[in-house]
């Protein structure tokens, strides 16, 4: 039996997808701005964050409203609570993209410190992870969600590599590079945090579909 409630849930799913697309765009643009040393692109990321914040509030409101009016149970309840969490994670990811854009604005007027290698790789990982996490949500695909969770250590590794390189090869050798090195280090850190939030999303998808809690229980992933 199709319920009116299903229509409302579909509507909510659409909003979340829209937000997912906007967030993906924000990450992409912030990294492009870094690669191209493009001020306008960085400013664009910062400006579009208000819109994402607005959608976040709308989604939250819809979730609360649906819970109050329908008192959802079982799969419906898991979908709604998961939506609220994914909503919060997406908004945080958007904020981190803004943080990256701000670092870019700090960097563009200064000379290039080094060619970027690991940071673009890290950003590719982050973008693939978020794409797959949103896909897993849409398709209720637990295997894809697991793949996202299991990929997160790669991001940590790359972040550490960036950090080691910046500290050992630049900051400790030439303190004058510190401001640029710190900015790049922070960008790596922001990207790694994006991966962490994405991991949360994937874990929540697994809970939504199977009712299984894998957060803090990695053994459940096997």
């Amino acid at each position: 039996m199709e319920r009116h409630f299903d229509e409302e849930l579909k509507d909510l799913r659409k909003d979340l997808l829209k937000m997912g697309v906007m967030v993906q765009e924000a990450i992409f643009k912030s990294i492009e701005a870094l690669k191209n040393r493009n001020k306008a692109q960085a400013k664009d990321v910062i400006a579009s964050d208000d819109k994402i914040d607005e959608i976040e509030l709308t989604i939250d409101e819809k979730c609360i409203d649906l819970i109050a009016r329908h008192q959802p149970m079982a799969g419906d309840l898991r979908f709604l609570t998961t939506s609220m969490k994914i909503n919060a994670d997406l908004e945080r990811i958007a904020d981190l993209s803004v943080d990256i854009a701000q670092r870019v604005l700090e960097l563009v007027d200064k000379p290039i410190l080094k060619p970027l290698i690991d940071i673009p790789r890290l950003s590719t990982i982050a973008q693939n992870m978020i794409r797959d996490a949103i896909d897993s949500f849409v398709k209720k695909d637990v295997e894809l969600a697991k793949k996202v969770v299991l990929f997160d250590p790669e991001a940590d590794k790359l972040r550490n590599a960036v950090q080691d390189e910046l500290i050992n090869d630049y900051m400790s050798k030439d303190p004058k590079t510190a401001d640029r090195a710190v900015a790049l280090l922070l960008i790596a850190r922001h990207l790694e945090r994006i991966c962490d939030h994405t991991t949360n999303i994937a874990e929540d998808v697994i809970y939504m579909v199977e009712g299984k809690v894998v957060k803090h229980h990695p053994e459940e992933l096997r």
Partner: protein
């Protein structure tokens, strides 16, 4: 150990099979809710536990229902009387006898010869206290029970059921005639009572089952589809039929 255990329980009304291979373990001093659509057999199952179905012509049962390890389906009239003492029941419509409040509560004691006359006062007080009616009614114990409000009447019926010191209290839609406030207060009372009694409640109100019970069984077309901890049933049921019913897709 299970307080009530059903083993391959089947029940027929004439040729209609109302219960199909029901296997269920009700734990002691917990609230067990049985939910399911109309006609799924939940009230029939509840009535098996104190053999209320015996009154209906053409009823046939197969399988076992054990309370404290004793099969209750066998046994003569005297055992039935003992069973009814052990297993009290509260119905949908509060149904006090057209007697005084006091007489209502001691009715079962008199029938079962359970207490001496001089003990009646104390038992009445205790029963009314446990359903939180004592303070309101202690000065009008001899007025007619039918003058009470619906909620008070239902509380009185619960007091009447527990006055004979049963182990188990069966409740068949005990709040469906009550308004939300009275319902909430009866639910609070149920939580109090489970310290001393094993409670089984049949309800159409899923939110009520979710709020008040520790374990929940979902029945459909005479079968017990799923039985588990209430939090699990309402957040992550295992059977699709349970999921469909509690999310309102069944129908």
């Amino acid at each position: 150990m299970a307080k009530i255990l059903t083993k391959n329980l089947n029940l027929w009304y004439g040729t209609f099979q109302a219960l199909i291979n029901v296997n269920m373990a009700v734990q002691e001093k917990r609230i067990t809710a049985i939910i399911g659509p109309s006609g799924c057999g939940k009230s029939t199952l509840l009535r098996v536990f104190n053999r209320m179905n015996d009154l209906i012509e053409g009823v046939r049962t197969k399988g076992k229902v054990e309370i404290d390890n004793q099969n209750i389906l066998e046994g003569d009239f005297s055992e039935l009387v003992q069973l009814r003492k052990k297993v009290g029941m509260v119905f949908q419509r509060p149904n006090p006898f057209p007697l005084s409040i006091y007489e209502n509560i001691i009715f079962g004691l008199k029938v079962h010869h359970l207490a001496k006359k001089e003990e009646f006062d104390r038992i009445v007080e205790r029963a009314l206290e446990s359903v939180l009616l004592w303070d309101d009614l202690k000065d009008k114990l001899h007025s007619n029970a039918l003058r009470l409000s619906l909620e008070q009447r239902q509380r009185l019926c619960i007091a009447r059921a527990i006055a004979v010191a049963p182990d188990i209290v069966l409740m068949d839609e005990p709040c469906s005639a009550l308004d939300p406030q009275s319902t909430a207060r009866i639910e609070e009372l149920m939580r109090e009572l489970k310290k001393d009694y094993t409670i089984i409640i049949v309800t159409h109100n899923m939110q009520q089952a979710a709020r008040v019970s520790d374990d929940t069984g979902f029945m459909l077309l005479g079968e017990l589809v799923e039985f588990d901890n209430t939090d699990k049933i309402f957040t992550r049921p295992q059977d699709k039929r349970t999921e469909d019913y509690i999310t309102g897709r069944y129908g």
